[in-house]
Symmetry: C2
Subunit: 505 residues, 2 copies
């Protein structure tokens, strides 16, 4: 298929340039909004060209860095090359790139880690300043200039609306059959003019299939033919399978107690291997005719759609392994009827999440005995990735589940600790904790009751005596027995790991 | 006015009993939902009678404790007497009673501190078990058995719907003219059957003025004539006035920058003296035709309605000082047109809060240099009151402001610390911090950028050198410079206070 077949709006054909020419339109200090969400739908060519410009400028002794805003994580061709060129001064809202992470933790890159549902509104409100340039990958352009979105929507509507200048990348690798899969809602407004979002079922379509852009703002159109990142998943290991088993058992119990319909409630699943294993466990379980309302559709949900476990799925990004992508392409008409891709201000909107009543399942780095969860920091100071949408979902879900193996680093780290070294989800927001050891149902429990459940059900047996000892000694502390802590020891497990390489006493 | 004039439904007149007789219908181990929100609209007689039963049972060597659920804090006649009778085994969701607090912190009472917006839905879902008894104060009963709510709505709709048995207290002290001030929304449902809440302006009425109850469930009706708690406010001191001044200046700046209309956006204000002082500052400022969408209407907002600064106010409770109550009663027709009292699942609903785009202003115990806020715990372990609605509002507001004096305990405590000893509002949820020293605007900032603003604008000058020193040394720590911490020192200020009575080095 030719570029001309993808770009049916003549004005845009006339603005076709090379990636280098397009990158030349981005100036030092610009705030740049790029497409991309979990390695899907990010621009493939302009960031690399921009990184080369930056390196040349730095070689001349000139500063050339930008503020980089995206949907969420991208890929080496975007975050990777720009970080390696030392070209990012402020990054938001979520990243998972090793070069970015290294620079953030070296103090060389500023990073603003905010809830994904906040990004678009805060940009509309002007809280982060003017957006100078948008660089957005699309799958095509209609004869009237509207855009066929790519494999993710993310914040693209916002970037296209808010930027002074727009650079489009038309990626011919993206299947033309994506056309019709998206639902772009243009009914948002600024307060005091907001109205209810008319979405009442996960698969509802409330918008239109295409992105709008003011053609006058489109300063360059670049042709690409390059695949998405398409990470491979590990096959579920025994630990992940046991976590999945505990969750499936628990959901069956909730159905049996009459607290949930047999079709459950819409599923939300974080990304990664454990989440994928849990989805595989659900697919093998007794449930049928489920639905999903989530951020990212990964391999697990694709399989559930095919098997009939899942009737429909709503997300903002399609992030598949190469093998799953092949299955998706081979049966794209089947999937197009069952998948809706939305802007992330809708996929992650608290209004919609609370209305639908989701079962939120998210991975974590560590939890403490009182039910606080750390999703973002290693040893209190170093960022891992970011909070992503976990806060949007956990706070507003019907059921909020967090999961992790009980051990990390070959057993040197206990993922259940006396006090988490960073709090992303407070004790008020966490209902269910799961490790391969078991499941702790914290609903209706006080902090000390939670501590007992978390230690006995979730902590690894190797660390239980230490945790019990901590709680017993903390309860003897007269400062307060509501959330008993020994402040001099609360973070000592992390300190010990930093100093000795192990949390073991 | 006679009891008969208040209770126009003949069936209920026939069930009139003494408080002792009503309290005899409550059994050991019952879960009891009582009315009451910030010292308004709580039952005045049955809790005392129940406490006497408990004490008699305890004297006989029998256990007699209940699970006590309310809207929020109540008064000595409810929380106080039941705690003193050692009659509460589980309390939720918010309390501020000295006897309760003492027992919770002694480990003798379990306390579950959850977001106020979660209480009613989680009870509907059955997460906390069956509600056995409701004890609800009302202002009157209509001829058809519907109830005229009292000075707070709180969770009363939920208690009346969910309880097996209902005890009504008809309080003749409550003005009969409250009739028509309430708006009870009966359009909620369980997922997957939920629909948008049709509220688009703070003063919208979307329900009906009366509470419904199944008459068959009403087992007792008790007559009372007793005032609400009606706390007196302190006159704003210099510190509170300076906090108010910073906030008024900031809001004027936001209007000048075009980020907010001249009438601002709807105000939410926490309770207490500082909040009241900020409202007084706003009332003296340049703003007119404001609106409020909040939990509790206190003296400050009443004055703003009278002066014309505020056109309307929505809340779930009316909690006035005795002097303000006199002004309210003298002009009740004026206020009834401008005040709407709603169930707390609507006053605190994330869907509505995010739609309206509130300016949320809440007090806190302490903040850390990275923008995490502690609203609930003293020195990490002891509960103060609870999170209340601050999380519902802060996470979903247009602007989220937290405020505190920079010092506490006569200067022994810095309310700006390296790491908060408990996190109720994460770095992802806090935009503006204010002390009498100044205001830190954290929007768009990385953690280290926030630390500089918080130290230089909010911390007391006495503690700034110590805080700067902490950050500088933490930045030298190779573990990670995104959120630089020294884990061995992060909580040492609190430890020092516990050990020496002062955080000063």
């Amino acid at each position: 298929m030719l570029f001309e077949d993808r770009v049916l709006y003549p004005e845009f054909r006339a603005r076709m340039v090379s990636a280098d020419e397009a990158a030349a339109l981005i100036a030092p200090g610009d705030r740049v909004g790029m497409s991309g969400f979990t390695g899907a739908g990010y621009p493939k060519a302009v960031p690399g060209a921009l990184a080369r410009r930056m390196q040349a400028a730095h070689a001349r002794g000139e500063d050339f860095r930008i503020g980089l805003w995206t949907g969420a994580s991208t890929a080496p061709e975007l975050d990777g090359v720009l970080a390696q060129a030392h070209g990012i001064n402020m990054r938001m809202p979520y990243q998972s790139d090793p070069s970015c992470r290294k620079q953030i933790n070296a103090g060389d890159m500023q990073y603003m880690d905010i809830h994904l549902s906040h990004v678009a509104p805060f940009v509309w409100f002007g809280f982060f300043g003017k957006l100078d340039v948008a660089v957005v990958e699309v799958a095509g352009v209609l004869p009237d200039g509207r855009l066929v979105p790519s494999s993710s929507v993310g914040n693209n509507k916002t970037w296209l609306d808010q930027a002074d200048k727009v650079i489009l990348e038309v990626n011919q690798w993206q299947p033309a059959e994506l056309d019709g899969m998206h639902d772009i809602y243009y009914g948002t407004d600024l307060p005091p003019h907001r109205v209810p979002i008319p979405l009442v079922q996960p698969h509802d379509r409330i918008g239109e299939p295409y992105l709008r852009v003011d053609p006058e703002k489109v300063v360059a159109v670049v042709s690409t033919h390059h695949p998405d990142r398409n990470s491979v998943f590990n096959a579920p290991d025994e630990c992940s399978q046991r976590i999945a088993g505990h969750i499936v058992d628990f959901l069956q119990q909730e159905v049996a107690l009459g607290r949930m319909p047999r079709e459950l409630l819409p599923l939300q699943s974080g990304v990664g291997n454990i989440a994928n294993a849990v989805l595989a466990g659900l697919d093998a379980g007794p449930f049928k005719h489920l639905s999903a309302y989530t951020e990212v559709l990964q391999d697990g949900m694709l399989a559930m759609l095919k098997s009939g476990t899942l009737d429909s799925a709503s997300a903002t990004a399609l992030s598949l392994s190469p093998a799953a992508m092949e299955r998706f392409l081979a049966d794209i008409d089947f999937y197009r009827q069952r998948i809706v891709l939305r802007p992330q201000e809708i996929s992650n909107h608290p209004e919609v999440i609370r209305r639908l009543g989701l079962i939120a399942m998210n991975a974590m780095i560590e939890a403490d005995i009182y039910g606080n969860v750390n999703s973002t920091h290693l040893m209190g100071s170093a960022i891992m990735n970011g909070i992503g949408g976990s806060g949007d979902f956990a706070r507003n879900a019907y059921l909020s589940i967090f999961m992790t193996p009980s051990l990390a680093k070959g057993g040197a780290i206990s993922c259940i600790v006396p006090m988490v070294s960073h709090v992303d989800h407070t004790e008020h927001d966490v209902q269910i904790l799961v490790t391969e050891q078991g499941l702790a149902d914290l609903r209706g429990k006080s902090p000390t009751q939670r501590a007992e459940l978390v230690i006995e059900h979730c902590a690894h047996p190797d660390f239980r005596p230490q945790l019990r000892d901590y709680v017993e000694r903390a309860k003897a502390n007269p400062v307060g027995r509501h959330t008993p802590h020994l402040l001099g020891e609360a973070l000592s497990w992390h300190q010990r790991f930093v100093q000795t390489g192990s949390m073991r006493g």
